[in-house]
């Protein structure tokens, strides 16, 4: 199945432990369900995506050794639809420097790729600083998706006060990662399988599975329910 272009480079940014790899895994399931050809790069912790190694190509990169240039060479591969990169989120300045050094925006234009920055946020304020810096730097040369992670809190006061307007002005979109009970999440991670397979995995307690199923469904609805959001994430 060939789907509409352009191709998407999606970079997740932000601190670890705000849900970057959880969102990545949920998205991988969605891309695979839509027959997208994807490649995943990780700067952080290979182990976090272990459940998906048999489904997609996942490569570990050392940002500070220049490995990240490998991603750029994938932009030349016609078979790919999506490249997902987990950026070392706490180093926003370094990321901007990197983008400058490799002429990323021009390269993307030339090879007909679009860029989306994806940042999960919690109620904490520092998440927002990163995003703010990134938007100031990249402005309209990228698309932005904020993932409100309800796991920590269901209020995002800091974000709403200082960032939401800016995101909206620049055409960014919000999606929601619903809260999942700690025990349910633990059992989900424990089986070490793609999330989509966990709903039918008998080793997980059936009630937990029901919650997991609805958790995934809610996230998917949040992504697919808006045409622009889907587009930014390379989904139909």
């Amino acid at each position: 199945m060939t789907l509409n272009s352009p191709k998407r480079l999606i970079m997740t940014v932000g601190d670890s432990r705000v849900g970057k790899s959880t969102v990545t895994k949920l998205l991988i399931d969605l891309w695979l369900a839509q027959g997208r050809k994807i490649r995943v790069y990780n700067h952080d912790n290979f182990y976090k995506l272990k459940a998906y190694v048999n489904l997609v190509e996942i490569e570990m990169l050392d940002f500070f050794k220049g490995d990240t240039d490998k991603i750029l060479n994938d932009l030349n591969k016609s078979e790919l639809d999506i490249i997902m990169v987990d950026m070392p989120g706490q180093y926003i300045k370094k990321i901007c420097e990197y983008i400058e050094k490799v002429e990323l925006f021009n390269i993307l234009l030339e090879y007909s790729w679009r860029l989306t920055f994806l940042q999960p946020i919690s109620h904490r304020i520092d998440c927002i600083h990163h995003l703010n810096e990134l938007i100031s730097y990249a402005t309209n040369q990228a698309n932005y998706i904020v993932v409100k992670n309800y796991h920590f809190d269901n209020r995002f006061i800091e974000y709403e006060q200082s960032m939401q307007k800016k995101i909206q002005l620049i055409g960014g979109r919000e999606i929601e990662l619903p809260a999942l009970h700690r025990e349910h999440y633990k059992s989900l991670e424990k089986v070490c399988k793609p999330y989509s397979e966990c709903c039918t995995d008998k080793s997980i307690y059936v009630i937990y599975r029901t919650y997991i199923y609805h958790w995934i469904k809610k996230f998917n609805n949040s992504v697919l329910g808006n045409a622009m959001t889907s587009k930014y994430l390379g989904l139909a």
Binding site: G66, L72, N73, L75, N76, V102, E103, I107, Y111
Partner: protein, 283 residues
């Protein structure tokens, strides 16, 4: 982010702006660096690319016969002549040829040469003695100035070791204020502020002061580092920087080289007069 030369800072360390803008009808840019691998060739290639992009006519001489990068990378794109200065008599011939080119005379074969006024010479490692002999015994600098209206710029590419500093001191001992100086800190070897042997050298400080009194330009610039894989790709394919930017196979090389060259030009912009580019806008 791109590095931008801080002019206010630069003024403290380097000599008057008016001196740099002095226009000579002819200029010879000599790229030296007595040790191999210091970045001479990279700098010379960057300058050649800058000339080409600016559509500035020039003739290159590649005296680094054992590692003739200028010929290999740029030989097909502009006029680069190999020159074996270790062979006796050759440097004399070079001087004669330079004179003929400046005047647009006939060469040894009766071919009329087009008049040239900008020359780029890359010297090989360990050629300081020959250069010194040439300057001292042949009165090269005086002749160039008085008879050919030609000013020489000595480009000294330095690393962080003290040899680099000694080489510069030595060069100054026989060139004095008869040449313009351009010191290039090759950032491959470290951050700008890590060139401490150069920055803290008392002798260099004295040289700078002396040259300043005589209104002789002494400037320093940084040469950005090009990431290894991009450098190696150009090398393996004998590509010019421009070709590296235009090839499509490796987007990472394209991006790295584009950004490197832009940065390189930004660095040399304030000293473009020393490179014979007075009237040229560097884009």
């Amino acid at each position: 982010m791109t590095d931008v030369i801080d002019n206010s800072k630069e003024d403290d360390k380097t000599n008057g702006k008016e001196a740099i803008d002095k226009v000579y009808p002819n200029r010879l840019v000599i790229v030296t660096g007595d040790k191999g691998g210091v970045g001479k060739s990279t700098f010379a290639r960057g300058v050649a690319q800058t000339y080409l992009d600016a559509q500035q006519r020039f003739v290159g001489f590649d005296a680094d016969i054992s590692n003739s990068q200028l010929v290999r990378f740029y030989g097909k794109h502009c006029q680069i002549e190999p020159l074996d200065i270790f062979k006796s008599g050759n440097i004399d011939k070079f001087f004669d040829r330079l004179k003929k080119m400046i005047n647009g005379e006939e060469d040894d074969y009766g071919q009329k040469l087009s008049a040239e006024n900008l020359f780029l010479l890359e010297l090989p490692p360990q050629s300081r003695v020959i250069l010194q002999k040439f300057v001292e015994e042949m009165n090269f600098l005086e002749t160039a100035a008085e008879e050919h209206n030609m000013r020489v710029t000595m480009v000294v590419v330095i690393s962080r070791i003290s040899d680099s500093v000694n080489q510069l001191i030595n060069l100054h001992s026989f060139c004095g204020n008869r040449v313009d100086y351009l010191v290039v800190k090759n950032l491959f070897f470290g951050e700008e502020e890590e060139f401490t042997r150069y920055d803290k050298s008392e002798k260099i400080k004295i040289i700078k002061e002396e040259l300043e009194q005589r209104r002789t330009p002494f400037f320093q610039v940084k040469m950005p580092e090009l990431i290894e894989h991009a450098y190696d790709y150009l090398d393996a394919n004998s590509m010019t920087f421009k070709q590296g930017m235009e090839q499509k196979d490796l987007p990472s090389v394209k991006g790295r080289v584009t950004s490197w060259l832009r940065n390189f030009k930004e660095q040399i912009k304030p000293v473009k007069g020393l490179l014979g580019l007075n009237d040229v806008e560097l884009s």
